[in-house]
């Protein structure tokens, strides 16, 4: 009995799946189009949820509005324009390129360029700070002899078979 209960509890998620917040709709094709559009629109109350997934009352009302405008035969763009005229660019997840959004669009690239510029500048500076070291004839000879010494054993491998 206990195990049956545990099994039942484990199976619960199968029956309760969280989907998009859908309202009752008579027309599944229209509903699909509405959800497709609403996925790209931001809910104003919850701010980080799309209009399609939000359960807030305003989102429900806005979905109803979108649905009704679709029934009236308006195009997706006309509906988006309507919502933007009421709520501003804020409702768009894909903000348009204009004067006030220039920083938004190009800011990251400007920062990247600035960072790359800094990097190149610093590397160049470092290169000029470390001068090429000139070896005196004496030092060069010593270095060569040291290298020879360490190189010798590998030139004449010891006979390990003995």
């Amino acid at each position: 009995m206990k195990y049956l209960l545990i099994l039942l509890v484990c199976l619960l998620p199968v029956f309760s799946h969280a989907g998009e917040a859908t309202d009752m709709a008579a027309d599944p094709v229209l509903e699909k189009r509405m959800i497709g559009l609403a996925e790209n629109l931001r809910c104003l109350v919850c701010q980080n949820e799309s209009l399609a997934s939000s359960h807030s009352e305003l989102a429900e009302d806005l979905r109803r509005e979108v649905r009704e405008q679709m029934q009236k035969g308006l195009s997706d763009q006309e509906i988006i324009d309507y919502l933007v005229s009421r709520y501003g660019d804020f409702v768009l997840y894909d903000p348009p390129l204009k004067k006030s959004t220039l920083i938004l669009w190009f800011g990251p690239f400007a920062l990247l360029l600035a960072g790359a510029g800094m990097l190149v500048y610093q590397l160049r500076k470092r290169k000029s700070r470390i001068p090429e070291a000139e070896l005196s004839a004496e030092d060069a000879q010593r270095a060569a002899s040291l290298l020879d010494e360490t190189a010798e054993p590998s030139n004449q491998p010891k006979d390990n078979r003995a």
Binding site: V45, Q47, L58, D61, E65, V84, R86, Y87, F90
Partner: protein, 175 residues
């Protein structure tokens, strides 16, 4: 010396951006309706549902349009300001009971007082969408030509009333 100045300057710039950015209210979405004509509507009045009201009736007057609801707690906060403003008789205040039951709206006004010249009820919230309402209370200042001149999102505070709304009302009434 340069080694210290440059990072310091960069840090100060970042700090300035953050200081300003964190001071902004993310709930305050700039309304595209400011400077545009107030959307037309015709709604039944709250107290006399058989009578209607539409903003076209207000042509030639500067007026405040306050969106509230009985379920809205922030509305209780700003309500005394409107009560006081209506006593001073500076500007007509029209109310819209947003997504509310008629009897709840009426009961709320009985309890807190009614500063409104007239209240319309937007039971389904359709006019609210037309006005870009997303967080009650919201208040619109509309001029003689029916253009929205100011939109207050959230409760009106004494500071906003004295420093922004009242001077703007005077300016618009003088025109």
């Amino acid at each position: 010396m340069m080694r210290f100045i440059l990072p310091f300057v960069v840090f100060m710039i970042m700090a300035a951006f953050m200081y300003v950015g964190l001071g902004l209210n993310p709930r305050e979405v700039p309304s595209p309706l400011v400077g545009k004509a107030a959307p037309a509507f015709t709604l039944p009045q709250l107290h006399e549902p058989s009578k209607q009201f539409s903003p076209q009736d207000m042509k030639g007057k500067v007026w405040l349009f306050n969106v509230w609801a009985s379920w809205c707690t922030a509305c209780e906060g700003e309500h005394p300001l409107f009560m006081e403003l209506s006593r001073k008789n500076i500007v007509p205040i029209y109310g819209m009971d947003y997504k509310d039951k008629r009897e709840n709206g009426e009961a709320w006004l009985r309890k807190h007082g009614n500063p409104y010249t007239l209240v319309v009820s937007d039971i389904e919230g359709r006019v609210g969408i037309d006005y870009g309402v997303y967080g009650v209370p919201e208040t619109y200042l509309i001029d003689k030509q029916g253009i929205i001149r100011h939109k207050q999102i959230g409760a009106v505070t004494p500071e906003i009333l004295d420093e922004t709304i009242l001077p703007l009302i005077k300016e618009l009434q003088a025109k």
